[in-house]
């Protein structure tokens, strides 16, 4: 008897679930219909907005731009995993979107699905991250030049004129474009200069807790260092927590130089307070660039360049102003 009741409840819940699905499918269809009234249908594949402050700002920017008021019918899909993103891309292609906007989790593995998109007449625009695929497979890419970001940071560090650079290098998720670009510049410099050494090179996978443990382990080993080169703000924060606990001074004119990336507002405030030394910008505001491209393509125009690199700055704690924090903090 009990089982029967349970079975009935479960069955009715499932049925309700199906109905809910049915109605949402209906809603989706309605928007498609209105799509023919002039709305441009875009499918946006992004990384998880909770991944970092950068991603949160990026997602908010896209959501604000691609609205019905601006002439778009946008669907969003999020994943930090490449295979899941590819699945979403296939779904969007089946859904007949006009444009597929993509921020790929990994650079590899996109060829066949983009080929499918091309066959189906879906135009692909890459944002934020590049991929290893033939450039004929996408219309345009709006990217941060991560290698340039790394180079700007390393040039700044070289300009500090230390007699010896002993660097703790905390990397992002290995293989991501941000990690490769920001690591590349430092690796080249360390290989070229005799007074630049890497004390520890470890991936903390964008994770503050892991960064804290990594720096803690260097401190416990008693190794000396004078630079922390963290590939994002969160990891720099974790590293600084370990420094604070061990009584190692950091910031402008102190023992250890702290460098981060992404320009989170709280990170720039650390710069303003001179607790950190440098923060490299990674511009998350690509929506207006994408909007321009789509408008151009829709009006039958051609793009003057395929890869658009956004302007990005690097902030120095000695010159940063409150205005910078307000304007560039994310």
């Amino acid at each position: 008897m009990k089982k029967k009741v349970l079975a009935t409840i479960i069955a009715s819940v499932m049925a309700l679930g199906l109905m809910a699905c049915g109605s949402s499918a209906q809603a989706a269809k309605n928007t498609t219909d209105s799509g023919s009234d002039g709305l441009i249908k875009v499918g946006i594949i992004n990384n998880d907005p909770n991944e970092s402050g950068y991603r949160t700002a990026n997602d908010a920017d896209l959501k604000a731009k691609f609205t019905e008021a601006n002439g778009y019918d946008a669907s969003f899909a999020y994943s930090l995993k490449n295979d899941e993103q590819i699945q979403y891309a296939q779904n969007f292609i089946q859904d007949d979107v006009d444009y597929l906007l993509l921020s790929a989790a990994d650079t590899a593995g996109w060829d066949s699905v983009l080929q499918d998109a091309k066959t189906a007449g879906v135009k692909v625009i890459l944002f934020d991250r590049t991929i290893d695929a033939d450039s004929s497979l996408y219309e345009a890419s709006i990217v941060s030049d991560m290698a340039k970001e790394g180079q700007t940071a390393v040039d700044w560090l070289a300009g500090q004129g230390l007699s010896e650079y002993n660097v703790i290098h905390i990397q992002g998720v290995m293989g991501s474009a941000a990690q490769q670009g920001r690591s590349g510049a430092l690796d080249t410099k360390v290989a070229a200069e005799s007074n630049w050494n890497i004390v520890k090179q470890q991936t903390a996978e964008w994770n503050a807790e892991k960064a804290q443990q990594i720096v803690q382990s260097v401190i416990d080993a008693g190794t000396s260092f004078n630079v922390i080169y963290a590939e994002n703000d969160d990891m720099a924060k974790g590293a600084v927590a370990a420094l604070d606990a061990a009584g190692i001074s950091h910031g402008v004119g102190k023992d250890v130089i702290v460098m981060g990336f992404d320009c989170n507002k709280w990170a720039l405030e650390e710069l303003l307070a001179q607790n950190w030394n440098y923060d490299g910008q990674c511009n998350p505001f690509q929506a207006s660039y994408i909007d321009d491209i789509i408008k151009t393509l829709e009006s039958g125009g051609t793009l003057s360049q395929k890869t658009i690199i956004m302007d990005e700055k690097g902030f120095d704690a000695t010159t940063i102003t409150q205005e910078d924090v307000d304007n560039y903090g994310i």
């Binding site: 349970l6 998880d48 907005p49 909770n50 991944e51 970092s52 402050g53 949160t56 930090l80 998720v173 290995m174 520890k200 470890q202 991936t203 903390a204 996978e205 964008w206 994770n207 503050a208 807790e209 892991k210 804290q212 443990q213 990594i214 803690q216 382990s217 401190i219 416990d220 080993a221 008693g222 969160d234 924060k237 974790g238 927590a241 420094l243 604070d244 606990a245 061990a246 009584g247 190692i248 001074s249 507002k265 709280w266």
Partner: protein, 355 residues
Amino acid sequence: MNDNKFKKLMSNQLFIPVIALVVLALINLINDPSFFKVTLGTNNAGNPVLSGYLITILDYGSELGILAIGMTLVTAASGGQDISVGATIAIAGSAMLRVLCGGNSRPETIQAPIIVAFLVACLVGMLCGAFNGLLVSIFKIQPMIATLILFTAGRSIAAWINNNELPIVPDPKFSYFGGFIPGIPIPTTVFIVAICIVIIALVLKFTNLGLYTQAVGINENSSRLNGINPTFIKFLSFVILGLCVAVAALIKVSRLSTINYSVIAKDIEMDAILAVALGGNALSGGKFNIWASILGAYVIQFLTTTLYKFNVQSDALAAYKAVVVIVLVIFSAPKVREYMKDARKKIIKVQKEAA
């Protein structure tokens, strides 16, 4: 006689984690004796603090040690594991920050006393535990499947609690829980673990929780016939784990005074389950030893810290832990145990014949 002692030692649940600890300690001693050096220094706030690898292990192993308490009870009572603890840490931590910061991501001062925020987090953690417990005990869903729900949805719920914002707690007092209290050189987390251990020890001594949990885990039906309510015991074990999760969340969030929903306490559920397994507890439920699990948790942190010291890439840590799991699983397999028993008997026989 000797053989008897050996048997007793082998059958003691603390055997595996202690041996693992000794092996790890020996490796480090041979490699670099300074591993065991503990020094007294001052932190940037000007307070005395102890530092060194051993302190690091005690400090960073705390969350896992606390989770091991609850996970052992859940394992013993339900014969399954809760894989949602990492996600519920995110939920409880997020709720704590929501109360502290009042929905504003950058408040000037904290909006509520820390104790209130902690109690809210406890409530939220226990609610999540109760949800899992309800599915497992009343709806008889397998624990791993039941907790899969919060495992999948938990981090999104955590983000939703704070409207996707990443609040930062402005009060330095909040960072004491995951750091140091001024004037006390031992990490606060060590005291928090000690308090948890004392509480659970008192509970096990003065209530029948331990006995009932074992009875339910060994045979649900016969325990029911003996007047124990298995449904309630299972439910209770999940609620206790929820409370452990809230305490772990306090430490995690306090370490950096902020939260990152997608990475906070990432993969900690696997470490917690591994701690229970390392403690020699049967993952199919029944008899259990909480102390062995807690020791297992510190063994895992010892291993992690050792690997960091040896410059192992942190994304490869999981592979080393997998090796430990493989060894454990092989040693606890009935076939292997039987084989080892036979082998020992043969050796003794040979020895006797020789004598």
